[in-house]
């Protein structure tokens, strides 16, 4: 036995299996990240899951499209990596994951029970219906419009244009259309409908109505997460999020620009 070997404790073979613990903890982190959490929250929840299931040591690396974990129990340790999917926002899933993490950290669940719970959350967490969301988004954009000084004549068209834009966005996301293309299409249709509606309603603020109708595309959670991640010591992830936000804004502006071009082609001054 050489000098380095003597520093490594012997494997007694009595520790719990590392692989399932690592994969369950990674999956919890992945689900939280896809639900719109910041890096520190992901770090905290993965640590709660892994330690609650028996790990002594937990180290996590969070990237924009993948996560890697190293966990150890006694002398044993493994490193595993997991791909991360589309980053959306799902607050109810976020909340449920934290409730589950509390249970796991109190050692109330085994690894297989935790895995079953994660699968249940991924498939059964409720979402608002498409129509309810469309109406809510319409109301939000109409309120945004009022904040941007759109007159009352233009507020109704903003409501309808944004609601239709949200329905189009949901349909495109269901069909797995690229998120940037989706932003451009929604911006184009929303601004065109908002501009046409405001024109027909006799509004004097057609340009602002067009902008208000596409504010459903504002990437609020990614923007705040980007800054939070940078401030909290994750500059790589924060920068990746910031770049994504910038590209979404560029595609949305391209859609808005196309809408403006089409309206001026039809003789409507914006």
């Amino acid at each position: 036995m050489d000098a380095i070997d003597s520093l490594i404790p012997e494997d007694t073979g009595s520790t719990p299996a590392l692989e399932p613990i690592a994969m369950v903890a990674l999956d919890a982190g992945r689900m939280l990240m896809e639900a719109g959490a910041s890096a520190n929250s992901i770090d905290a929840i993965v640590s709660k899951f892994a330690r609650g299931l028996g790990a002594d040591r937990v180290d996590l690396r969070i990237g924009y499209a993948s996560m890697a974990i190293t966990i150890g129990i006694g002398a044993n340790g493994i490193t595993r990596m997991r791909e991360v999917g589309h980053l959306g926002v799902n607050q109810r899933l976020d909340q449920e994951l934290w409730h589950l993490a509390e249970k796991v950290s109190r050692s109330e669940l085994t690894t297989s029970q935790t895995r079953a719970e994660l699968t249940r959350l991924a498939t059964k967490t409720p979402r608002h219906s498409a129509w309810v969301m469309a109406v809510a988004v319409g109301l939000a954009c109409a309120a945004f419009g009022r904040l941007l000084k759109v007159d009352w004549l233009g507020t109704g068209p903003v409501f309808f244009a944004a609601a239709i834009g949200q329905l189009i966005r949901r349909e495109l996301i269901t069909r797995h259309v690229n998120v940037f293309i989706c932003a451009a299409v929604v911006a184009f249709s929303g601004s065109l409908l908002g501009g046409l509606g405001a024109h027909w309603a006799g509004s004097a603020k057609i340009d602002m109505a067009m902008i208000a109708a596409i504010l459903l595309l504002v990437p609020g959670v990614p923007s705040v997460n980007a800054l939070n991640d940078i401030l909290e010591g994750h500059p790589t992830l924060g920068s990746a999020r910031a770049v994504t936000v910038a590209v979404i804004l560029i595609f949305a502006a391209a859609g808005l620009w196309l809408g403006k071009v089409l309206l001026s082609h039809w003789g409507i001054e914006t």
């Binding site: 719109g36 899933l93 969301m133 988004v137 939000a140 609020g220 705040v224 909290e232 620009w257």
Partner: protein, 156 residues
């Protein structure tokens, strides 16, 4: 002071409505939506008071509003049973200068085809882009400060 109570109420109500709409978009449950409304209303009330009551500029007013929302969320989050991040963001979303961002990028698009007044278009684009950057920075920093301060206090 140019601020009237009717205008303050109008802005507050619009902030609350926008926050609730975005709350639903983020799949926040119906029971937690009133907290989103409170968060958005508080943000817009503070920003409007600072902008029109105290005469501050947009960036400073947005910073004060975000700081207030961030501090209020720290106090209320246990009661609201909702993640701090979500409550912060839905409250501050009505303050995101989306129209400035759109105008900045459209002005940059226009630069590629403008033959006259190119320098004026460039200045407009840069002005809007800077206002967007500083306002978003002010909102993000205002939200982060209460969280970071609390973490320091807890870790002591």
């Amino acid at each position: 002071m140019n601020l009237t109570l009717a205008f303050l109420l109008h802005q507050t109500l619009c902030g609350a409505l926008a926050a609730v709409g975005f709350g639903m978009l983020f799949n926040i449950g119906f029971r937690s939506l009133p907290w989103c409304a409170v968060s958005g209303a508080l943000a817009l009330a503070v920003r409007t008071y600072c902008l029109d009551g105290l005469g501050w500029n947009l960036e400073a007013a947005s910073f004060a509003a975000a700081l207030t929302v961030g501090a209020a969320v720290q106090v209320l989050r246990a009661r609201a049973d909702i993640s701090q991040n979500a409550l912060d963001v839905v409250g501050c979303i009505p303050m995101v200068p989306g129209s400035f961002a759109a105008k900045a990028i459209l002005a940059m698009f226009a630069l590629t085809s403008t033959t006259t007044d190119a320098s004026e278009t460039l200045i407009t684009a840069v002005q809007f882009a800077l206002r967007v950057t500083f306002t978003i920075g002010a909102i993000g920093t205002g939200l982060a400060i209460p969280t970071l301060l609390l973490r320091v206090r807890v870790s002591r």
